[in-house]
Symmetry: C2
Subunit: 216 residues, 2 copies
């Protein structure tokens, strides 16, 4: 046989698991830095430490690789929002959602840039994922936030745009890292800017969402 990817129906070998893992890791590195078109298969192969035909034995096309990577990453990327608990304390829930998103921007910047690249260029490959699972999750959590506002637990506001603004402010520190560093100056070594950002964003969102007159 010469169809390794067809082995998807069968159980996968140890080698398949290992190699596919190494390839996707390398693909994340390269795609997130150069975008889909800017990345080359040779580059990914080199980072993965294998020859190009060998890589193409596991993923038959560049696009298949990209698709596999996106779908895998999208799932974990939405975890912070999934954890938003309708039964928790509203302000505390939003605060820790912001913290989690900011931690992801710090710890998984490549994943963030992968999506940014994709969406920036019109999301040609993942439009279905956006309109399906992503929209469903956001709709669900927006309803939760709206109910908190209705109950007077937080200020009345558009829950969708609240979520957008949390996404954008936190992911900014991953996607626009170069700009952030350039503007803040030379102290690029540590994670200080993330701590400063956390303080600022907490102040902004929590104060901005506080209920002025707690009489309910």
């Amino acid at each position: 046989m010469v169809l390794p990817r067809a082995a998807r129906t069968q159980r996968r070998t140890r080698i398949q698991e290992e190699k596919e893992e190494r390839i996707l890791e390398a693909a994340l590195e390269v795609f997130s830095l150069h975008g889909y078109r800017g990345a080359t298969v040779d580059q990914i192969a080199e980072v993965a430490g294998m020859s190009k035909p060998n890589l193409l034995y596991y993923f038959r096309t560049k696009e298949a690789m990209h698709r596999a990577l996106i779908t895998r990453v999208l799932d974990t990327w939405l975890d912070p929002l999934r954890e938003l608990d309708a039964l928790g304390n509203p302000v505390a829930e939003i605060r820790s959602y912001i913290r989690r998103k900011l931690e992801m921007a710090r710890d998984f910047p490549r994943e963030s840039r992968l999506f940014a690249n994709e969406i920036l260029q019109g999301a040609p490959n993942i439009e279905d994922e956006l309109k399906g699972p992503l929209k469903a999750l956001v709709d669900e959590k927006a309803a939760v936030i709206r109910s908190w506002a209705k109950a007077g637990k937080i200020a009345k506001c558009d829950p969708y745009h609240l979520i957008f603004s949390i996404w954008s402010t936190t992911q900014h520190y991953a996607d626009f890292d170069v700009q952030v560093r350039a503007v803040l100056g030379q102290d690029n070594a540590g994670d200080g800017r993330f701590e400063d950002a956390a303080r600022f964003l907490e102040q902004l969102f929590i104060t901005g969402l506080e209920v002025k007159d707690p009489a309910s």
Copy 2:
């Protein structure tokens, strides 16, 4: 003569002005959608309605085109921040800065995406611009904001991260337009999302920055 770009030292002809304008317009269209590497000279030539060699007669390399485009756009892109007036009413100044940035995201999304693409991929060509003019301008305005906070006109906060969060929230509606539309649903026709965003962001930032105890 065969050196049209060397004509820079001389006055430019009518034809040069027109064609360079058309080329940069086409380049903006293509670069903003596909990034530097993803854009092809043939594509740009086609959008500009001329042959590839003809285009290369005006800009000798793809990189020269990109550089010319970036430097031109960066200048107008920073105008909203330049207008932030140290002598104006602090809250009103910040409010109208947010409004101006959001209007730019609505009216010039290609320009926004051009920068986003560039910075996302490590800003290989404009690092100097970031560390030079851009940092200088941000430093200047951050000092203004800090003085407002010191004077008790707005809440104490990190001015750099305030600027970052205004940038990210507003540009989000240009750069991640596809995602915003996918999440908000089918009503993609109008600009309603920008009006909703304006309302939300105003509430968020102005409430978040208000001084709680106005005793100064």
